[in-house]
């Protein structure tokens, strides 16, 4: 369990770090990149500032993988996930706020227009979001193991 978790968050850390670097490089380059369903924004806010946060998230993951079951190490992994939730959560919130108003034509968007807003491509943070949620499973599993151990001791 411990080893598997370290490997998982290690890989996630490397991928997150790579996405963060890509975000920054694309922002410096000045033109956005799109590969199929993945889109790397080039604006200073989402690409630059957001990219810096994704890069930090990758570093938090990598700093926490050694002896991951120790509470201070686990908190770094948790923090890596929290940073991804901040960026991805607000990307999704921006999509929601864009999808509802109808623009110049009407007060509210049509159903087609509403659904279109949620279609790909997505930013790297949104891709990382489901993988970052695994930290919850790990914490839950760890707490269950501790409880079981305490019960066995009693």
């Amino acid at each position: 369990m411990k080893r598997l978790s370290s490997i998982y968050f290690g890989i996630l850390g490397v991928v997150t770090l790579a996405f963060g670097i890509a975000d920054l490089l694309v922002t410096i380059g000045g033109s956005g990149l799109s590969f199929g369903i993945l889109e790397i924004p080039c604006d200073a806010f989402r690409g630059g500032w957001g990219g810096l946060i994704i890069l930090s998230a990758g570093l938090f993951y990598l700093a926490g993988i050694k002896n991951i079951s120790e509470i201070h190490q686990l908190s770094k992994v948790m923090m890596g996930s929290i940073l991804i939730w901040i960026v991805a959560g607000l990307d999704i919130f921006a999509m929601i706020t864009e999808s509802i108003p109808g623009g110049d034509r009407s007060w509210f968007n049509t159903l087609e227009g509403f659904l279109e807003t949620y279609a790909p491509p997505y930013t790297p943070a949104i891709f990382l979001l489901p993988f970052s949620l695994v930290v919850f499973y790990y914490i839950l599993k760890k707490e269950r193991n501790i409880l079981k151990k305490e019960e066995d001791e009693e």
């Binding site: 957001g50 938090f60 509470i71 901040i86 607000l90 919130f93 706020t97 509802i100 108003p101 007060w107």
Partner: protein, 404 residues
Amino acid sequence: MTKLDVDERWDLIDKISKKTVTFGEYKHTLKDAIGELTVKPLTGIPIAIAVLYGFWSFFSSFAGFFTDGFFVKLFDEHWLLWLQEIFPGKESWLYYIFVGDPSATNCFEAFGVLTSGFFVAIGVVLPAIVAFYLILTLLEDSGYLPRLAVLIDTILHRIGLHGYAIVPTILSLGCNVPAVAATRVLETRKERFIMMTILAIFIPCGAQLGIMKEVIPDTMGFVIFYLFMGYLIFGFILNKIIPGKTPEMLIDVPPYQMPTAQNVGRKLWMRTSSFFKVALPFVLLGCVIVNVLYLTGFIAWMGDILSPLFIGWFGVPSETAGPLIAAFLRKDLAVAQLSAIEMTRYQMISAVVLVSIYFPCVATFAMMLREGWKELLGSIAVLAMVVTLYGGLLHLIWILLGVA
């Protein structure tokens, strides 16, 4: 009731504590460990950067949703047209004051009390203020704000303040009025003077931010950066020249906790409603006074007098004199007025920076006066110097870059 001697009292204490206190080994929890990460500089700074990103991203999306999504349409396509149709006497001064320019096609450019005044207050400022206070309350109630104060303490000591100064600084991004009141959390007169002065000059309020987002979305980042640099540089200078002490901070950092909806709702209502009680009369009164000043030719006269300074020293058109005078009454309205003047991108940055660092709005002015007239006079002297120096410096940067 029998009187207990010392030994009996201690025995009673022992009995009570045995019944009420559970003794055991304290285990460090994940919440504690995350709390430690947020106050250590190496890990705390990236987290603070992420929190500020979240703050700003939420602010933009939330305010944009209501302002661009609904209020612009409501005010421009319905409210303005209705007013233009029913308000009598298109040529009269009353029409000019209340509805504004009869040929205006949007509330931003009409500048009437019932058009621009209402649109700015309800359509732009209300969503911005709600978004701002919502995030501020969440940060406060979750326990992050005291940690941010600890984290930023070292940096703020360089400008003569301590970590608690983050509270008025962040409050100021909503409205300078409660922020001036919040400077009372700082112990010494030196700290309060520095804080009051730099927040009145360099921190744009929520209303200004909302208007900047509408009027200069592309250059807003530069303006904020330039103001932030001013906050640090002039804070540092004031710390060096003003006598007095900056005491160390002693703070009780609470554990992280989930904010309750009831608390958040109550605080949000209290802050937003008090902002509107203070600000709304000033927005509407500001519109009336500015329009009267325009009608009487006072602003054009001031523009003529100040034009050598505006063109030669600041590098902005002489027409910006009007918005600068209006800025004393409402800074947000002044930024909106700037949008109607033809300027280059760089002149627009300079003009918006000038409006921001120019005299605090009249509500803040009144609040500062309550804190002491000596402090107010001192702040005004610093402000006059800062506007002249900083505005000229910005013009010099544009000349050196070859864009002015």
